[in-house]
Structure formats: structure tokens, C-alpha cells
Subunit: 314 residues, 2 copies
């Protein structure tokens, strides 16, 4: 497993924006799966169903800010929009490298699609075949992949803060002569020597960091308690709920979950909040999904397209 270090200095914010929340067939103006994870000033794209680049335009997500794309599995509703996005990046003159983390067979498929179009990308596309473990690691954040139980090989992803920033007591810091430009460094634990040469100890002008921010995307999966260890104590969990609870048999047969099953995983994992999505095209109205999941796990919300869900420290 290759590691890749990002050069982002400071990260305070973790959020997920939903670009598509429907299962395989697009319906009722709902789109196939895609999400944008915001880590401060960087965007990570998770899955890329058909039309994702149009959804990005609609919700003003800038392609140029995406440097890492994660594809959970090779069912079309999770990746058919990828080749269009990649070639658009090329047409727009992108030069920055793009890192793609996806099931191994996708590499040959992309290569073939570029070849038949006689297209050479102007930017480096680094392909990383998915396996369990850490995919991206940087000073403050890491992204980890874990296997889930689907009809074909499929992975979930966990984004988590490694070391959250301390909270600065601004008035106290100013009173001790720490200039405001240094506050950012205080957040990461540094001491300061003030103008009179006196040491200002970090813990006298800051308070301990809150719990690390974390988000897990468990992709397409049947009900499988082995997922729990990978998403344990996550602050925000996205779990698929293709069907309502009366269709548990169908869910099992198709390697998907019901509302009740998704909510049970969230409860057993001690998640802070649950987002549910990947709704079957048989449902036009989604209200029942929310109601059923909340019976088991009250802090549940529907993953709605265009909405950004911020991860809040618990």
C-alpha cells in the first residue's frame, strides 16, 4: 500500500456534501452515488456515478480542488461518471496530479477508454489499487479503506483527524503578549516567547483539543457486523439503506441493507450521527426511511442531494 502525504498545514473542518443518493437506476431526479468530503481547503471525491460532473457544476464544487478520488466498487452507479470527470479535467488543462484509489480492474478500463479516444491526459493520473489499510496519511488526517460485504469486491472509507487543534483562549493569549498571527501555531501545541523574552506555555493560553473529527462511508454492503469495528465511534457514519425494513429478504439477496439494519450498525458502533442513502428507485418519497431508521437510531438524517453535513466534534 503506497502512502501519500498531503501538504495541507491546518485542518479544522470535516464535512460531506451529497451529490447523489440513489441506487442503481436514476429516478425522481435523484442521482447515483457520489459524495464530496471537505477537509478544510481540500476536497476528496467518494464514488462517481453517471452525471457527477454535472452535479458538481450544479452545486459549485470545483474540480480543480480535487486531488484524490475513491471508488468503492465497480457497479456502474458508483463509477460510470468517473471517465467523464477525468477527461473533462484534462480538457480544462489540469496539470496537477490526481490520485485514484479504486478496485484494480478500473486501471485497464480507463486506459482503454483513453486509447480508443486517442487521448493523452496532460496531468499525471496515479492509480492505487484498493486494499484494506491506510490510503492517505498526512500530519493531521488519514484516510483508511476497509472491506465490506457486497456482491463484488467493495470497500468503505474512513476519514479521520489524527491530531485535532487545541482551542485558543484569545483574551488570555493576548494578555500574555501572544500576537494573533501566532494563534494558529498555538492550536498545534507550540509555546511562545513574548516580546519581553518570557516563555508563554501553551497550556496556559489554550485548552485541550476536542475529540478528533471522523467520517465513515460504508459503501454498498449487506448487513454485516464486521463493519462495526471499522466505523467504531465515528462521529458521522454514512450507511446505505436501499430498502425499507419490510424488504429485508430482498436486501440480503441483493447484498444491500434496510433502514433498521443501517441504524443497528450505527448504534452498535457508537456512531455520533447517521446519514442514510442509496435509496432504491422503487421509492419516490423518502420520509419513511427517516422514520424507520430513527426508531433504532434517533440521530439519523437522510442524505439529501446538494446538502453539506458538517461533522461536529463530540
Amino acid at each position: 500500500m503506497r502512502l501519500f502525504t498531503l501538504n495541507t498545514a491546518r485542518i479544522y473542518m470535516l464535512a460531506v456534501t451529497i451529490l447523489g443518493n440513489n441506487s442503481a437506476l436514476p429516478a425522481f431526479d435523484r442521482h447515483p452515488t457520489s459524495q464530496v468530503i471537505t477537509l478544510d481547503d481540500q476536497l476528496f471525491l467518494v464514488d462517481c456515478g453517471e452525471g457527477t460532473q454535472m452535479q458538481m457544476a450544479k452545486y459549485r464544487i470545483r474540480r480543480s480542488r480535487i486531488h484524490h478520488i475513491f471508488i468503492s466498487h465497480l457497479h456502474g452507479d458508483h463509477y460510470f461518471g468517473l471517465i467523464g470527470l477525468i477527461t473533462s479535467m484534462g480538457l480544462l488543462g489540469r496539470e496537477q496530479p490526481l490520485h485514484l484509489y479504486a478496485p484494480a480492474p478500473l486501471e485497464a478500463l480507463i486506459k482503454m477508454q483513453l486509447e480508443v479516444a486517442d487521448t493523452t491526459l496532460a496531468f499525471p493520473l496515479h492509480f492505487h489499487a484498493l486494499e484494506e489499510g491506510i490510503l492517505v496519511e498526512q500530519e493531521k488526517f488519514r484516510v483508511r479503506a476497509f472491506a465490506v460485504s457486497h456482491r463484488i469486491p467493495c470497500w468503505g472509507f474512513r476519514f479521520e483527524q489524527v491530531k485535532p487543534p487545541r482551542r485558543v483562549l484569545a483574551a488570555e493569549a493576548a494578555a500574555q503578549g501572544v500576537p494573533s498571527y501566532f494563534f494558529d501555531r498555538l492550536k498545534w501545541g507550540e509555546d511562545y516567547h513574548n516580546a519581553r523574552g518570557v516563555l508563554v506555555k501553551n497550556d496556559t493560553v489554550t485548552i485541550a483539543a476536542p475529540a478528533p473529527l471522523s467520517y465513515a462511508y460504508s459503501a454498498d454492503t449487506k448487513y454485516d457486523e464486521r463493519v462495526i469495528e471499522h466505523v467504531r465511534d465515528v462521529q458521522l457514519l454514512y450507511h446505505e439503506t436501499t430498502y425499507l425494513k419490510d424488504l429485508a429478504d430482498r436486501a440480503l439477496k441483493r447484498y444491500h441493507c434496510t433502514t433498521e439494519q443501517a441504524a443497528t450498525i450505527a448504534a452498535k458502533a457508537g456512531a455520533g450521527r447517521l446519514l442514510i442513502g442509496h435509496f432504491s428507485s422503487k421509492y419516490e418519497v423518502l420520509k419513511e426511511f427517516e422514520a424507520e431508521a430513527r426508531e433504532v437510531f434517533p440521530n439519523t438524517d437522510l442524505a439529501l442531494e446538494g446538502v453539506t453535513y458538517r461533522v461536529v466534534s463530540t
Copy 2:
């Protein structure tokens, strides 16, 4: 070249509905190329850029009525939506065969995409590698492919009525004792024996057929007068105009056309009407395309998404 005979009995109507009119990059809510050709009760799909299945839903085009798809070339903006459409047809339980006419390498690509998803289509997908000549032939209509000049192999398609129906003089036919259920057969030249056993000669109750209906789609091409012979005297010609006339150099370099060039082809070919599309993403407003093309060929219209252009007999 394989021939395929359709079993449609009667065709009176030819029309084209635009699903996408933009060039490579989706922009300004314009979509990549796709068109639906209506031949009476059948639909033929021409090109299938990303998002075509969503555009079909938006404009109420029924997937189940499509039995033939034509892909002009393997630049993504003309086919990236195809695999999504095909797999959706499968998920919807389609059983009817689908005929796909496309550049040869697409067959392996589709096969690979189905394999990595562990998907078997429930309906027969018949792949026909494109070459010049007749692709589909039936009693009343035929579809023919012709090569155009693009950066990679690319084909245009001509849809034309072989034998248009005669016009029935309803009052005269009724007066001679022809029942109305037989009018449809009168249109195709049959005589009738009335209730008294008397022969009613077809030409006494009908008038000659109008000129055959025809539509040509010339795909992506640089200015090339060799196209003219293939689209000669067509009643409706679609020709790409990626750029306005001041960018003729860029158009040539990228194997595309300007307004002036498209209109010149229409004029030299004796087309009845010209539709222009495949607009570059650099243009937000399209009015100038219309104005420039009309300077050379007055009967020109912009190919606008969601609009159906009916071919009228001349």
C-alpha cells in the same frame, strides 16, 4: 455488413429530438451529444453522451421503445452515457434485443464493464461494428452510415424513407365504396374490390406520394466536401458547428467546423433545412451561431435540447 429488417408496417413520421447539443465539456446546463430519431412508432438513438438516460427521463423518452443505437465515434462526449443506459435497461427487466452500431473497439469495452460488475444482461445485445453502407433496411426506411473526417474514426448516419405513402382522397374512396380500414393499404398502392366486386384502382382514390422523408446526422467532422454526396438533397441535415466563423483555424486543428462551414455544406448539398449543434463550452449565448449560419444558409435552426424537429416533406 449485416442487415436487419424491422417489422414496422407503416411509417409516416420522421423527427429528431435533441437530448444534448454541447461539445466535449458539459456547460451552461447544456449536455453532451445525443439525439432520438422517431420513425413513426420506433425510436432510434444517435450518440449517447454522459447523462443521456437522465435527459431521456426529463423529456419522457421511453427506453423500451429503443431497439437500435448508433454511436458515431469514441470520444467520450458521444458515448460515455451508453453503458449506464444499457445497464439500466437490464435492471428494468428488458427482454427485447438491442442492436448497437458503433466503432469496433466499443464491443470489448462494454464486455469489460459488464464483467467487472459481474453483470449479465437479461436481453440480447447485438453489436455491429460500423462500416460504410446500409446498417438497417426495412420495407419503408433505411439507415446508412458514411465516414466523416475527425481525429479518430467517425461516422455519420442518414435515415431515409424508401417508399413514402400515397395520399388517400378520403371522400372519393368512400364514394367508391372503400371502407376506412382499407385506407392504410391504399397508401401503399393497393387496389380494392368493393362490395359489388368492382375493382377500385388505387390511382383513382389516391394521389402520388410526396418526396421521401430524410434526415442526416453528420457527427463530428472538420470541413470536408466529401460529406456532401452522403447528405445530398436531405430534407433535414444536422451538422456540427463547434465554433463561430472567426475560429476557423481552431476548428480545423481540432477536426471541427464553424457556422459558415456547416452552412456551406448544407447549401452545397441542397439540404432543405439545417440544424446546428455541438457548441463549444466557451460560448454561453448561442444567438450568434444562428445569425452566422443563416447568412450562408437561411433555413438554419439551433439544435436546442428538448426540442423535436419534424422532417417535413418538400
